[in-house]
């Protein structure tokens, strides 16, 4: 026994989806995290809450509204039709867009925390060393926030792999297009193919465990090496 062709296709599709979403989220999430970490604007609260919404909303709620917005009558739907792309729901790219929203907090929050942990001092130092805002961002913020980026990538990827509700609402169940692992498992169970379901579900358990183990090991090594090093570098 093992994976069927349909299983393999679902696995491939899932990895492709999670990779694309993680990459895009790093690009989109970094400026949002930077803004949230550095701003003193009154909008910090509301924007932060919106970014965090997918943490608490049922995926079906998110999927429902995304379906409306991207549908033929919705603003994004109108836009994509006007651009000649057609409609996004029930396509791979529709799934990508939905996943961007769904996994956004898992990428933004670790990066935001890492940016906040840097504090003001390194940026002041960089300014006295003639670095402008861009220079400060690329030579100070990004390298010092590297652990945050690694955590964000792992969480963003893993969370996208695990989504189900949003996929069903937006993507449906189209082989090679939107049928990811979680949907495939659902199909197996529906058709009482428990052995097949076990292979995929067990695989997911192992995958999730390995990812989290890697993440925790990484974080633990980092904090112990940080405490071994001498203190008070950016303190005070």
């Amino acid at each position: 026994m093992g994976f069927t062709d349909a299983d393999w296709s679902a696995i491939g599709l899932t990895i492709k989806l999670a990779s694309v979403v993680t990459l895009l989220l790093l690009l989109i999430g970094t400026p949002i995290a930077w803004w949230l970490a550095r701003t003193r604007s009154a909008w910090k609260g509301p924007i932060g809450a919106i970014v965090a919404l997918p943490l608490v909303l049922p995926p079906t709620v998110l999927g429902f509204y995304l379906l409306l917005v991207m549908g033929p009558e919705g603003p994004i739907g109108q836009l994509t039709q006007w651009l000649g792309i057609g409609l996004l729901p029930f396509t791979f790219w529709g799934l990508v867009v939905a996943s961007l929203f769904y996994s956004l907090p898992f990428v933004v929050q670790p990066i935001q925390n890492a940016f906040e942990a840097i504090g003001d001092r390194p940026f002041e130092v960089a300014a006295t060393l003639r670095a402008n805002a861009w220079g400060q961002f690329f030579t100070v913020a990004i390298p010092l926030a590297k652990p945050g980026f690694i955590t964000a990538s792992i969480l963003g990827f893993a969370h996208t792999v695990g989504e189900f509700g949003v996929v069903l609402m937006i993507g449906g169940n189209i082989p090679e297009e939107t049928r990811v692992i979680s949907v495939q498992i659902y199909d197996h169970v529906e058709s009482l193919e428990y052995t097949q379901a076990h292979w995929l579900a067990g695989g997911m358990v192992v995958f999730s465990f390995v990812v989290l183990l890697a993440l925790y090991t990484f974080n633990r090594n980092r904090s112990s090496s940080a405490s071994n090093g001498s203190s008070m570098r950016f303190g005070g």
Binding site: A127, N228, R233
Partner: protein, 369 residues
């Protein structure tokens, strides 16, 4: 008035429970120490000068270049300054060399490899360049930070208590570097400190701050010998004399330091001090710090005394010390001013008044540079 030779500073800053009101002109050369107790606004003032703190109604010109005039502000990264923070604040992700390169890359002028080597050797860093900040001692980190600030080739160096976060041994490790820096560099340094010892060693000019206001501003000698200096220093009250090593007594391990403005015409006995031989070269400019508590006064000259330095002088002024039992006496010894801290009883007993002739007995005089 735009002055090409001075640094004109005017800032008003309001924070909750604190305000800074500064309007001073300081010399565009040498070391100006911004002196004051903690919470007096020293660091805020320095941050205003660097542009790190926003003061909407501020004015700042350095050597005739206007850095801020109200809302027209040159941002920090465009100001030709170097800044040394209280904590070294090195970039943790870069080695010592990487930290220095960060500055070299962004310097306003090209930094030649000779200049880099000069600064690295000035601060004694050649052995630690490939280490990360976490592998450096506190003193080494601060030296890297100073070298880094110098490598952007600043026209003004700002130092915010660079020794405050270090223990005594580390302080003694860095102070000589700062002193040689002062002599090797041709740029003005504004140095924030609350330590009378650092003032004695480094200051040419003093701006004293108290609760956000300037309470004294002038040359180091004048300020330290001012009996009405508002920041009472208690045990640390004393003067600093600048002179040259003119003679060495190898038998007794002593050096004679001559001070006073017009050395040629002065009687050398009245204008020089014997201090312990520190091994420094003849004719080298040095500083001698004489604490008021180490100076006693007598009406007659005693030959049989262990005190090496006894100078004739006349009383200028007497004022009460912070200590109820003590007075501060300002004495003119012909070439300079010396302060003595003696008991009120002695002042009465010796009938000290202005213009009275006295013998100034200096129990200890420390070479600070």
């Amino acid at each position: 008035m735009l002055s090409k030779t001075s640094i004109d500073v005017r800032f008003n800053l309001k924070r909750s429970g604190f305000s800074l009101n500064v309007d001073v002109s300081i010399p565009g050369q040498g070391v100006t120490v911004i002196f004051g107790h903690s919470g007096s606004g020293k660091t805020s003032l320095l941050r205003c000068i660097a542009g790190l703190e926003k003061s909407p109604q501020g004015y700042l010109s350095v050597h005739g270049a206007v850095w801020q005039e109200g809302k027209r502000v040159i941002p920090t990264h465009k100001r030709p300054l170097g800044y040394v923070f209280q904590e070294a604040s090195l970039f943790d992700h870069l080695t010592a060399q990487g930290n220095l390169n960060y500055a070299i890359k962004r310097s306003s002028d090209t930094v030649t490899s000779n200049e880099v080597e000069h600064i690295i050797s000035l601060l004694g860093l050649s052995k630690v360049l490939d280490r990360f900040p976490s592998q450096l001692s506190g003193g080494e980190r601060q030296r890297v930070a100073i070298a880094r600030a110098l490598l952007v080739k600043p026209k003004l160096l700002l130092m915010d208590e660079p020794l405050a976060s270090l223990d005594v041994a580390r302080k003694q490790e860095i102070l000589p570097y700062l002193e040689s820096l002062k002599q090797a560099l041709n740029i003005p340094i504004i140095y924030v400190s609350h330590s009378p010892d650092e003032v004695a060693r480094l200051a040419d000019h003093i701006v004293a701050l108290d609760q956000g206001n300037v309470v004294a501003n002038g040359p180091m000698n004048e300020i330290l010998s001012d009996l009405n200096f508002p920041l009472r220093l208690g045990e640390d009250t004393g003067v600093v004399l600048e002179g040259d090593v003119v003679e060495r007594d190898t038998q007794w391990h002593l050096m004679r330091v001559q001070f006073g403005a017009d050395k040629g015409t002065l009687n050398p006995v009245n204008s020089s001090l014997w201090v312990r031989d520190s091994g420094c070269a003849l004719d080298k400019p040095v500083r001698v710090r004489i604490l008021a508590r180490d100076v006693s006064l007598a009406l007659e000259h005693h030959e049989n005394t262990s005190i090496l330095n006894v100078l004739p002088g006349s009383v200028v002024e007497i004022a009460s010390d912070v200590d109820d039992g003590m007075d501060l006496v300002k004495i003119d010894v012909g070439s300079t001013i010396i302060l003595a801290r003696i008991s009120k009883r002695s002042v009465t007993h010796l009938e000290l008044v202005a213009n009275k002739q006295v013998w100034v007995q200096i129990k200890s005089a420390a070479l600070v540079q």
